[in-house]
């Protein structure tokens, strides 16, 4: 329960170490880093990718790191968000903000559907059932050619300008596009910080630490798991919707189980159950992928090997290892 107790009182008197400072202002720190981030990156497209996958990993980390359930089906949540956002624009001509809302709703709903079934299982089963169900979602979207474009992906999500309170913002300009997406990502980080600091956030971690004790304390463990999974779906749906706007196309591979595996790798690399881990993991992973793919097309070999090394030697991830050092 020690970890849960900490997140109930994030504003306690501090010892002044950098770790305490980082914990207290965690969402603000993320916001500042995100705002100056594109200025140090070689190209903005990569920075946008890091933002989106960081958000995707943030949602995944809520289930994996904080709730302690390993899901191998998050591609279904991410992909449904992307597809619903895209379908709303391409087939129904919805404005961009409504399309993003549709993406978030899609992520929430898909998480509810998968969650209701998968939560019935526990432990190692959860990974298998979520993976199988997300594979099912893949086939469903694959076959709904009229809506999703099937194998070719959903094309034609063209959002050129964004109208905001009478202002017309040019969404083609990569730098502006980055900051528009960044606004959503930063907002999501503030919401996540709020959820984790709330009493509900403490219950999530209590369930992970000791299920029996949480149940004995009167908490509905099953409901907590389901709610957390659904919340995670909302974050992943938002990430998917932003991805659809960013790419102007939703490829069918977004629902492939490798997309589920990708976020597992990112979360583990960054540090599971840590607030900054997902963003750090996404940045390191994607930059690495970018560098390695310059000199070999077989970057998956390198990435897989690094992941194996991570599981064997650094299971706490980059940020988790740093925290352990900082606390010492």
């Amino acid at each position: 329960m020690t970890k849960a107790a900490q997140s109930i009182k994030p504003h306690r008197a501090t010892t002044g170490s950098w770790y305490e400072f980082a914990t207290r202002h965690r969402a603000s720190i993320v916001a500042v880093v995100i705002l100056i981030f594109p200025l140090v990156m070689p190209f903005t497209a990569l920075a946008v990718n890091i933002l989106i996958y960081g958000l995707y990993a943030l949602g995944f980390n809520l289930v994996f790191g904080y709730l302690g359930l390993l899901s191998f089906g998050h591609a279904a949540l991410f992909g449904t968000g992307a597809y619903l956002c895209g379908i709303a624009i391409v087939h129904f001509g919805w404005p961009w903000y409504a399309a993003i809302a549709a993406g978030v709703a899609g992520g929430l709903l898909m998480a509810l559907l998968i969650g209701v079934l998968a939560i019935r299982t526990r432990g190692i089963y959860f990974a298998m059932v979520t993976m199988a169900l997300s594979q099912c979602v893949y086939y469903l979207f694959y076959q709904a050619v009229d809506l999703t474009g099937g194998e070719n992906g959903l094309r034609g999500i063209n959002v050129r300008t964004i109208d905001l309170f009478g202002l017309r913002i040019d969404f083609i300009n990569p730098m502006i596009r980055y900051y528009v997406i960044a606004a959503f990502v930063i907002a999501a980080f503030f919401v996540m910080s709020r959820i984790l600091a709330s009493p509900f956030g403490a219950v999530i971690e209590a369930v992970r630490e000791n299920e029996m004790r949480a149940r004995a304390s009167g908490y509905d463990v099953t409901l907590t798991r389901l709610l957390t999974f659904v919340l995670s779906g909302g974050f992943c749906g938002l990430a998917g919707a932003l991805q659809a706007l960013h790419l102007s196309i939703v490829p069918i591979e977004i629902l492939h189980y490798e997309t589920s595996g990708l976020v597992v790798m990112i979360a583990l690399l960054g540090g599971m159950g840590t607030f900054f881990g997902p963003m750090i993991g996404a940045a390191v992973f994607l930059v690495l992928e970018n560098i390695v793919s310059v000199w070999t097309v077989h970057w998956q070999l390198i990435v897989g090997a690094i992941f194996i090394a991570c599981v064997l030697f650094f299971p706490a991830g980059i940020w988790g290892t740093l925290i352990a050092r900082g606390r010492r």
Partner: protein, 294 residues
């Protein structure tokens, strides 16, 4: 619906059993490894795929299918032994998720190595000449090779059953699955038992890959699809239960082939619907022990 005779349905049923036989082989390996080691082998699909590629390679250097049937399980089994010894063993006692994550990373590496060695595109895999053609099985003509797949699976199952139930080594394995601590106290080197079980499980996966190759060809990604479907089999049958894996594997095969007859567009989705029903009605599967779930 007019063209659907009893014979057609019966034939489709047999086709489903042949497909199910591959699922059974894949899933018993998975189940055996989980039952003994509590490791969910995410690289099982990769071993299956490498099995098919090793067969392809052996035939390209002049071997024939019968040599492959013996050599492929040996090669894959040995590589399974190496994997368990080198990378999985350090993870015992460190939480059930870690071996799963590790084998997931391993599957990336294996798939990419095969892509480097054989290229990204798939290859056809010729059915051995003796097994080409069809035979009359009473309700109509049925491809001989599929019949062979069913037979070979039955032989493997029988051999595995004899090994587990009738040999002293099998006794140790069964005891190790129930209570590794006591077995260790009795002076048995449990880690060696686990090593061998992992080897057997992967050897069967390689064998299944080889058997599946003439049915669907070989591509580097073939393992990923069957892995998800095998998870359905293990959930339906009950994790860690070999009998459950056999029954559920055949059931899943028949469900796939029957839906592809009646509603082809639903064939891929049907097995997941089956899993959803089992999860609602009986969350620990047909033969799963309820305790394994928590």
């Amino acid at each position: 619906m007019a063209g659907l005779s009893f014979d057609l349905i019966a034939l489709q049923l047999f086709a489903g059993l042949a497909l199910g036989a591959i699922y059974v082989l894949f899933a018993i390996g998975l189940s055996l490894i989980f039952g003994m080691l509590t490791v969910v082998n995410f690289a099982h699909g990769a071993f299956y795929m490498v099995g098919a590629y090793v067969g392809l390679y052996l035939i390209s250097i002049g071997g024939n299918f019968w040599i492959c049937l013996v050599a492929v399980p040996i090669v894959i089994g040995l590589s399974g032994l190496a994997v368990e010894r080198v990378v999985i063993r350090p993870l015992y006692g460190r939480g059930i998720d870690y071996p799963l994550l590790l084998t997931f990373g391993l599957s990336y590496v294996m798939v990419e190595c095969v892509r480097i060695a054989f290229g990204k595109t798939g290859y056809p895999f010729d059915t051995p000449e003796v097994l080409q053609g069809a035979v009359d099985i009473g309700v109509g003509y049925f491809p001989l090779y599929r019949l062979f797949v069913i037979g070979a699976t039955a032989v493997v199952l029988l051999a595995l059953w004899l090994f587990l139930e009738k040999t002293s080594y099998g006794l140790i394995i069964r005891a190790g699955a129930r209570d590794p601590q006591i077995v260790r106290v009795l002076g048995v080197d449990v880690s060696r038992v686990w090593l061998i079980v992992f080897g057997i499980g992967t050897a069967i996966a390689g064998f299944a890959g080889l058997l599946a190759a003439p049915l669907q060809g070989v591509i580097p990604e073939m393992g990923g699809t069957i892995l998800a479907e095998a998870f359905v089999v293990t959930v339906v049958g009950g994790m860690g239960s070999i009998g459950g894996a056999v029954l559920a594997g055949l059931l899943v095969g028949v469900v796939v082939s029957m839906t592809s007859l009646f509603a082809p567009e639903m064939a891929k989705v049907s097995i997941f619907a089956l899993m959803a029903i089992v999860l609602i009605v009986r969350p620990h599967g047909f033969f799963g022990r309820a305790g394994l779930m928590s």
